[in-house]
Amino acid sequence: MFNALLGDARLYLRLVAMQIRAQLRYKANLLIDIITYFLITGLEFAAVMLLFGPFPSILGWHIGEVAFLYATTSISFGLAELFGAGIDAFDITIRRGEFDRVLLRPISAFVQVIGSDFRLRRFGRLTEGLMAFGIALKLLPGMTWTPLKLVLLPVGIVSGAVVFTAILLLGATMCFWTVETTELTNILTYGGREMLSYPFSIYNQNLQRFFLFVVPLAFCSYIPVCYLLGRDMPFGLPGGIAFAAPLVALFFALASGAIWRIGVNHYQSTGS
């Protein structure tokens, strides 16, 4: 089994390298795309920051803290967009009947799907996230870093990326039954990203419960940030729970993967 995983990983890297080489052929286009995406996401960040012109704080969170939250969420989402592009475009794969070809190959369907698209232009958002992070650090001069915090930061960001990707996978699985639901996935991904850019405590209790315990986006982005900023956890949870984030992400990813497998096994092609 471990051999199979290793084989899958090697295949995935090869597929991604192919994508990168193909996209790099159109360097000018790629550069324009990256810059455009950077500017667009940058405008979103600017809008959030501009809110602190007239308003001093949002439920006690100041501009630096919100920038920090925004940046980490953006980086998580950017990573998921980068790696999950193939999953994102899955509805087109199904509609074109290409999934039949995928199933005919003696390789994991998931690796093929996730390796089918690695959108370099999504680096625009990653760059913007990193820039926002830099700005956040400048706006938080009093922030202290302990070794635990330094570990939690990348772990938290990757956990967030995993949850976003798992949501994309769930959305793709829905495509087995109906191709009309891509917009709903967008609500959870783009909407979720927007939601998590602000302190989670501003939302209605039920919304909080949903995004903490059902689709644990907040668990893997808001909670780690609360720990890093030294703020209280929602619902009075203990501070150390931030370190459970990767486990929660893993659990959600496994659940998502299981549902994907069910979808693949019950797949009935629409014919070509």
Binding site: I40, L51, I58, L59, G191
Partner: protein
């Protein structure tokens, strides 16, 4: 000829009726977005009770009326015209015995009417039910809104016509379209209500063509525009419409003379 354009508008309206599920999904997206922004605004107003003449209730109403109008005035990702240029269909469109600009204008008016009924009204209603900010009781606000909204919609048509028609010269026009669309949304109050912008940015936004798209109708709806300021905003809307339509027609004329079709 007028009858022809009316039929074009009606067909466009009828065509949208087919996409019921897409509309419902889009409606859910608009509502979800409205919900997020509403909570953000409520939380912000904890710290300060009035900004630029807006209290929390005004702001919620503003946010939801903007969300309601987006699909009518400035739908993100509208590439219909660009796609006909890419596919070469535009040649047959240009050869038709009707005016190219008025043809697209009528189409979009029909589409806009659909979105007013099936997206705009439901979105605002959902917001009002969830957050309880109600409707304006003053009939004069409604009257002003009935003027500013159509003007905004017409301006929106001119804007999207223009950022699509660049596809005649740029092959990858989609990136430009997305960029222009985002800037337009920013400067029309969709990202952050225009009254909250710092004064220097506010001035730039006010004089841009984008102000008249969503911000002016929204402020009219709230009754924030009266007398002199109302007249100024309407004149600016009309002014930008005239400018953009002239440019649109000029660009179409140039493109029609020089168009090179790719493929059959």
């Amino acid at each position: 000829m007028l009858r022809f354009y009316f039929e074009v508008a009606r067909t466009a309206f009828r065509r949208q009726l087919i996409y019921r599920w897409a509309n419902i999904a889009g409606l859910l997206t608009n509502v979800f977005w409205g919900i997020i922004i509403s909570y953000v605004m409520i939380a912000l107003f904890h710290a300060r009770h009035q900004v630029g003449g807006f209290d929390v209730r005004d702001t919620l109403s503003y946010v939801w009326v903007v969300q309601a109008m987006i699909m009518i005035v400035l739908p993100f990702g509208w590439y219909d015209l660009m796609l006909t240029i890419r596919s070469g269909e535009v040649v047959t469109d240009l050869s038709k015995p009707c005016d190219f600009w008025w043809y697209w204008f009528s189409r979009e008016i029909g589409r806009d009417c659909y979105y007013l009924l099936y997206r705009g009204i439901p979105t605002y209603t959902a917001g009002a039910l969830l957050f309880g900010f109600g409707l304006s009781g003053d009939w004069r606000n409604w009257l002003v809104y009935m003027v500013c909204l159509p003007l905004g919609a017409i301006l929106g048509i001119a804007c999207r016509f223009l950022y699509n028609i660049v596809a005649f010269w740029i092959v990858e026009a989609r990136a430009t379209a997305v960029m222009v669309g985002t800037i337009a949304l920013f400067f029309t109050g969709s990202y952050i209500p225009l009254p909250f912008l710092p004064p220097w940015l506010h001035t730039i936004a006010i004089w841009s063509p984008f102000n008249g798209l969503l911000n002016v109708p929204a402020e009219a709806f709230l009754g924030k525009l009266t007398g002199g300021s109302l007249l100024l905003e309407i004149l600016r809307q009309v002014g930008w419409i005239i400018v953009l339509v002239i440019v649109a027609r000029a660009v179409t004329a140039i493109a029609a003379r020089r168009v090179e079709v790719q493929g059959g």
